[in-house]
């Protein structure tokens, strides 16, 4: 059984990530941009997982995992930098 609607849901998540680009570009402060970038990372991760399920190849899940790790490290380091203790 192959579910074609998984690709449709993945496209919906990518559209949501595109909407968040407004906050990433025009956010008034640095923290807003950092949160928006983190959320875009999460949404694209979800799209990658759905595409991995559709195609049945687990390579995309590895990519999503590595993106998640990098997003976490980036968010934490931006937080530390804003606090002034890097």
């Amino acid at each position: 059984m192959i579910m074609e609607e998984l690709v449709f849901f993945a496209i919906c998540f990518i559209v949501l990530a595109m909407i968040l680009l407004i906050r990433l570009i025009g956010g008034p402060t640095v923290a807003d941009r950092a949160i928006a970038a983190d959320s875009i990372d999460l949404l694209s991760d979800m799209a990658l997982i759905l595409f991995a399920l559709y195609s049945g190849r687990s390579v995309f899940i590895d990519i999503a995992f590595i993106t998640a790790i990098l997003g976490f490290i980036g968010t934490t380091i931006i937080g530390r930098y804003l606090e002034g203790r890097l």
Binding site: L16, R23, T29, V30, A31, I49, F72, T76, G79
Partner: protein
């Protein structure tokens, strides 16, 4: 089975939409942070649980299901750490609400007492 997976993904899509709308509409930085937590919890959990069900039942690929479960635990552990780091950093950096005052700010009062 197909219906269960679809319902899980639609729930996750709804909460991701709520988080995105909240991030666009909320009035200040910390409230936007609360909305982004909305994406990071039920949004990602719905997709991951649906993925575990689909890869275990439909694809007969247990390695993929185990990988998704590890990813779920990883998200649960690391998300609050990042949110806490960026909230504290933004407060110490001097980002406040501009148009109105906060309802109460006991953290700022205690920080001033220490200095």
């Amino acid at each position: 089975m197909r219906i269960v997976i679809d319902v899980l993904i639609v729930i996750s899509l709804f909460f991701a939409l709520a988080g995105v709308v909240g991030m666009i509409r909320m009035p200040d930085t910390f409230c936007r942070m609360q909305s982004s937590t909305n994406i990071a919890t039920l949004g990602i959990l719905g997709v991951l649980i649906a993925g575990i069900l689909y890869s275990a039942v439909c694809l007969h690929d247990p390695a993929m299901a185990v990988k998704l479960a590890v990813m779920m635990v990883f998200y649960i552990i690391t998300n609050p750490v990042g949110a806490h780091a960026i909230a504290k950093g933004a407060y110490k950096h001097g980002i406040r609400r501009v148009d109105e005052e906060l309802a109460c700010d006991q953290y700022g009062e205690d920080l001033e007492d220490e200095e």
